[in-house]
Amino acid sequence: MNISLEHVSFNYPAGVQALSDVSLDIVAGESVAIIGENGAGKTTLARHLNGLLRPSSGRVLIGETDTRTLTVARLASRVGYVFQNPDDQLFERTVAAEVGFGPRNLGLPASDAKFAIQNALERVGLADEANSHPYDLHVSQRKLVALAAALAMTTPIVVLDEPTTGQDAEGVERLGQIVDSLKADHRTMITITHDIDFCAEHFERVVVMAAGRILVDGPAAHTLAQAAALAQAEVEPPQMIRLARALKLDASPLTVNEFIEVWRSNRTSTRSADS
């Protein structure tokens, strides 16, 4: 299921122009990260993906459907949106019931729902907490419950709003694994994130936004190397790219391993050049 934003502009009722002529095409199975400072329009853009916002001009297509023709609840079968604050949605007495809310609303048959819930809980590592009360868990675990709740809806497209906030090192790593496993399932992943290293390590494509417009849109290695655009968006480059740049290496490594490769081959070549 492809996504297409065609010349989307959006004004909030108060008159604030939050998006200006934004066009974006996302192919099924892509993993895209949207970065930029608060107020750049990232959340506004994301909310157009499941119909929470309708463009003031332009249109948004999910699959071949214009989002204006479906309610948010109907679009929920195609786009799973994970909100930043889990406490904005938790209301059931057990984690399992909470995760099952989405599947129940979508009318999944009971056995399919059960499977989806179990699958989702295992994927986020909370299978043991299925019968716990969500508020007995730490807030970082509640975030994973909210994530599981969206995953259980088995939508082809998943939108994550700041998934790593409040997570510790293990939590961020688990999120990375979850994203990778969803990519392996060919789910389309779109995330808004401030964690630039998480972004570099798990997302193939990066969109940089500032003041309601897209500044850069392209493969991660290409986009995250655009120092000027990132500076304009008030974003620091990932640690490995910063290190490569500081060492005058002509490359944009996205992961630790890539950096090691770049550094190693650079030393090999300089050594050969020396000798």
Binding site: A76, F83, F91, G102, L106, Y135
Partner: protein, 261 residues
């Protein structure tokens, strides 16, 4: 970013410079007179002869009218239609097909409208010209419990955020397939997933806010000072007492049988 709930509109006006309790007394007088005096005209008289001129003096007349209008108009229309036309017996003054307009009904509607306009304008006159924290300071200086004053002030600033959060919760649950439109049983079923997160997350918030309050020594017992300084004059003090006395007298007369309807 949400703006606060306060209607306060700062202006360089002498009415604004009055002590908060003076403005409170004036608005209370307008409200009581407007609501308590019988008949059609006293309430409108209070509005046009007292509230509006004071609003003009306070340079908030336009804001006041702009706020009164959307409240008064629906009331006016429904009162006029419901009371004006549906009045048992009474004197007919006009006919519209099968239904007729009654003089008593019209009188009732106008009287009710007058009261509403007087009361709303009294409230707006106070809100537009008085900063909430100045009013709370004036009250706590005279023994009003600081905790209640705090609750009033913080509520004014919290309500918009509360509303924003309720909207976010609605969005989150809709994004999980919750249908909120349609027939009543479905809408009722939608209540729990909408209200529960609001209550639960507010409880978490309340705890943090209580800590924040403690961290600013709110419950310290001892002399407290104030950054804000309220200016009062003997004239205003006398005027306030005078207002109270006159009001009491007028209301007393009102309830003495035989005088005024």
């Amino acid at each position: 970013m949400t703006s606060s709930f306060s209607l306060y509109a700062p202006r360089a006006s002498r009415y604004h410079d009055l002590h908060p309790l003076t403005k409170l007394a004036i608005s209370a007088a307008i409200m009581i007179a407007g609501a308590g005096l019988g008949g059609v005209w006293p309430a409108f008289a209070v509005f046009f002869a007292v509230a509006l001129p004071l609003a003009i003096w306070g340079k908030v007349a336009i804001s006041l009218l702009r706020a009164v209008w959307p409240i008064a108009l629906p009331f006016a229309i429904s009162l006029f239609l419901i009371r004006g036309f549906i009045w048992p017996g009474g004197t007919i003054i006009a006919t519209l097909g099968p239904i007729s307009l009654k003089a008593e009904g019209l009188e009732f509607a106008l009287a009710a409208l007058g009261r509403i306009v007087a009361m709303v304008s009294a409230f707006l006159l106070l809100s537009l010209t008085t900063a909430p924290d100045a009013l709370m300071l004036a009250l706590t200086e005279r023994g009003f419990p600081p905790m209640i004053a705090y609750i009033v002030l913080t509520t004014i600033q919290i309500v918009p955020r509360f509303q924003a959060r309720a909207a976010t919760i609605l969005d989150a649950q809709r994004s999980r397939g919750l249908e909120t439109e349609g027939w009543l049983p479905r809408r009722l079923r939608a209540l729990l997933p909408l209200v529960t997160p609001l209550i639960l997350s507010s409880l978490v918030d309340v705890e943090e806010r209580a800590i924040a309050l403690e961290a600013r020594a709110f419950s310290r017992v001892g002399v407290k000072t104030s950054l804000l300084v309220l200016r009062d004059t003997p004239f205003q003090r006398t005027a306030r007492w005078l207002i109270v006395v006159i009001l009491a007298a007028v209301m007393g007369l009102r309830f003495v049988p035989g005088i005024a309807p």
